[in-house]
């Protein structure tokens, strides 16, 4: 796969239509808009917490395009807003989660930005780093065990998670049993306040693949098309029963870890500003404009539409009630079991 230069040279589409390219771009715009909305609502005192995925837009929009809705299973981590939007979650559902309203998939009981949707094949999130990977590998094992060919599990994590024992055990187990599993690492160089050089002695996560006996590859996570191609190839391989792949997308975390974090205590504004030149959202916009896939008017209209959708979803979610105290055990135990009854 040739590296796509987003600004010069020929555009390698990897089979993506104009419509799909526009869909990816809209996902990226929506992701950024919702990210900002989460931070705004937090600073307004309306939501307790939000996570920022700015810098991950291209990677997540590209990976979502490689996900086969209705067949594949997604086991994401907590910084996967764009992936979840890309596989079908609506902005309204995102805002229900952030506002912790009763109508949220988790009844407003999960952490904000921790979605789940049985309809979308979206597994419930874990805040514990790497805890979702044994679950993801278990889901892949069950696909293999039941002979459900043509389906695969896409699991994601950040660079920090690769230092966890569960990451290693999951990778090894998937490799031994040749499971239909794709490990997508979104390497944004920061694990909260820990920089990559204090996380690993060599900076390329994909190089761990050979030690497990599975293919590994690295791609530019600021390029949604290259991301799509790399993840799609790995997912196809998994769906065809050829086993797991480790794919590493390089990106950057532009915001603080979450609304509870102040990144100026561990990195300078200048360092972040310098990396803004690679910001995938304006970069992909330029590509679409230069190739005539979108006109400036199209882009403006799309931005307006994304903002309108975000505003409407915000108002609709905010107007809904919190869960009732009496519903505390609703999504925990089967039936109406409540501990004080026993």
């Amino acid at each position: 796969m040739a590296t796509t230069d987003l600004r010069t040279g020929s555009l390698e589409r990897h089979g993506l239509s104009d419509e799909q390219l526009r869909d990816m771009f809209r996902n990226m715009l929506l992701q950024r808009q919702l990210d900002n909305r989460g931070f705004q609502l937090n600073r307004q005192g309306k939501v307790p917490f939000a996570l920022g995925s700015e810098g991950h837009e291209a990677l997540q929009a590209g990976a979502a395009m490689a996900f086969n809705r209705g067949r594949d299973i997604l086991a994401p981590y907590y910084r996967d807003l764009g992936l979840c939007l890309g596989i079908g979650l609506s902005p309204f559902e995102i805002l229900l989660s952030i506002f912790a309203r009763a109508e949220d998939h988790n009844g407003g009981r999960q952490f904000p930005n921790h979605y789940s949707s049985k309809a979308a094949g979206l597994m419930s999130f874990s805040s514990i780093l790497a805890a979702h990977l044994p679950h993801a590998v278990g889901a892949a094992f069950s696909l293999a065990y039941r002979g459900e060919t043509g389906r695969a599990v896409l699991a994601t994590c950040g660079d920090g998670t690769t230092s966890e024992g569960e990451w290693h055990e999951s990778m090894n187990f998937a490799a031994v049993h040749k499971l239909p599993f794709v490990m997508l690492v979104e390497n944004n160089e920061w694990a909260i306040s820990t920089p990559l050089e204090k996380q690993m002695a060599q900076p390329e996560i994909w190089k761990r693949a050979a030690g497990y006996g599975m293919p590994g590859r690295r791609f530019n996570g600021f390029d949604p098309i290259e991301t799509y191609a790399a993840v799609n190839e790995a997912m196809d391989r998994a769906r065809a029963g050829e086993g797991p792949t480790l794919v590493e997308g390089t990106c950057y975390r532009y915001l603080a870890h979450s609304t509870d974090d102040n990144d100026l205590t561990y990195r300078t504004r200048e360092v972040v500003q310098e990396r803004r030149k690679d910001d995938p959202v304006p970069a992909f916009e330029t590509v679409l404009l230069e190739r005539g896939i979108m006109s400036p008017e199209d882009v403006t209209a799309m931005r307006k539409d994304v903002l309108r959708e975000t505003n409407e979803a915000t108002d609709a979610a905010e107007a809904l009630p919190y869960p009732e105290a009496a519903d505390l055990y609703k999504h925990v135990y089967e039936g109406a079991w409540e501990p004080w009854q026993s």
Binding site: S163, E164, G165, E166, W167, H168, E169, N172, F173, A175, V176, K178, E197, K198, Q199, M200, A201, Q202, I205, K207, R208, A209, A210, G211, Y212, G213, M214, G243
Partner: protein, 348 residues
């Protein structure tokens, strides 16, 4: 150095700087390991001890690695199949038998699992039965050496192929790599994790290939060749002592016996498979090499074997004659200052 019997006379003796005396010391450790190993199984079958684990097939890697350990400076954090390493760094057969007999005079006062030695004098860390649990401890000890600026010292830690699938293994190797710690990870790959064969343990069969992903050097060595093992572990230890950071060394060997006296390996592998691997048995192979190159005469080998057996017999008799720990000593090596839980309860 390949020590295949049929090609032996054509193979030069690559000493890697080892003197005749050191080669003989390595061979004696290997003989002692095997004799003590058999003694553990015998005593178990006689009903005299509850349990013994088996390291037959690991003699060469352990005797070679022990020769690379600097007594009085380095720290050893082994696993439970490291009889030869413990002997090689100075543990006596009597101490080993005190552990097997679980006598009060044992280093752990007879309270630890058999074959789980410990010796502060020798720099021998207490052994964990939990697979890979020793590795964070080993890396912590290496971190302490670095933190205190104790240059010229290193930690040698060992484990089997099964331990490499544990999360703690990964976290330990990664942490050591990030901080460039003075630690050597020696994998004794014997192809069996109790009843799990290597093919069900890993997606590819070479543990040392994981090193690159951590940014540390990795090397594979013939674990049936004690001199090659000495050279590989020695180079890694030297690198660690001089601040060069950790190394992953994989010694390929084989487990000839069952996992322990509690295991029957015929339920998961055939005696034919084991028999076929006996041609690589490091003890007779190294004996032939030493005789071939006149490092030892046939008579000297016989004398060595007799002396090892006598020492084992003597140690067995002495250890068996010692007393079990008293029930009243239960907390002796657990808490400082004679603290006993029932004392506290009474005070309350």
């Amino acid at each position: 150095m390949a020590i295949k019997p049929e090609a032996q006379s054509k193979v030069p003796l690559e000493r890697h700087g080892l003197t005749n005396e050191q080669l003989v010391a390595i061979f004696r450790t290997m003989l002692m390991q095997r004799t003590l190993e058999n003694r553990g199984f015998q005593l178990n079958r006689q009903g005299k001890i509850p349990f013994a684990s088996a390291s037959e097939g690991h003699e060469a890697v352990q005797a070679g690695a022990a020769m690379a350990f600097e007594r009085g400076k380095d720290i050893l954090v082994p696993y439970y199949r490291d009889l030869g390493l413990a002997l090689g760094i100075g543990l006596t057969p009597y101490e080993v038998l005190l552990s097997l007999f679980a006598r009060a005079a044992d280093h752990s006062a007879g309270r630890q699992f058999p074959h789980h030695y410990a010796s502060r004098r020798l720099g021998l860390h207490t052994i964990s039965s939990i697979i890979a649990a020793q590795l964070p401890h080993a890396v912590g000890a290496a971190f302490a050496l670095q933190y205190r600026g104790e240059a010229g010292r290193a930690v040698l830690t060992t484990f089997g192929d099964g331990a490499t699938s544990e999360g703690e293994w990964h976290e330990s190797v990664n942490f050591a790599a990030v901080h460039k710690l003075p630690v050597v990870f020696l994998c004794e790959n014997n192809e069996w994790a109790i009843s799990t064969p290597l093919s069900k343990q890993m997606g590819q069969p070479d543990v040392f290939r994981r090193a690159e992903g951590y940014g540390v050097p990795g090397a594979a060595v013939d674990g049936m060749d004690p001199i090659a093992c000495y050279a590989a572990v020695g180079a890694a230890m030297q690198r660690a002592r001089s601040g060069g950071g950790p190394t992953l060394v994989e010694a390929k060997c084989y487990r000839f016996l069952s996992h322990t006296t509690d295991d029957d390996d015929r339920t998961y592998r055939s005696p034919d498979e084991v028999q076929a691997r006996r041609k690589d048995d490091p003890v007779p192979c190294f004996e032939r090499l030493l005789v071939e190159h006149a490092v030892l005469s046939v008579e000297q080998v016989e004398a060595l074997k007799r002396s090892v057996l006598e020492e084992t017999n003597d140690a067995t008799d002495r250890a068996e004659a010692m007393a079990y720990p008293d029930a009243a000593d239960l907390y002796e090596k657990v808490y400082a200052e004679g603290w006993e839980p029932w004392t506290v309860q009474r005070a309350q």
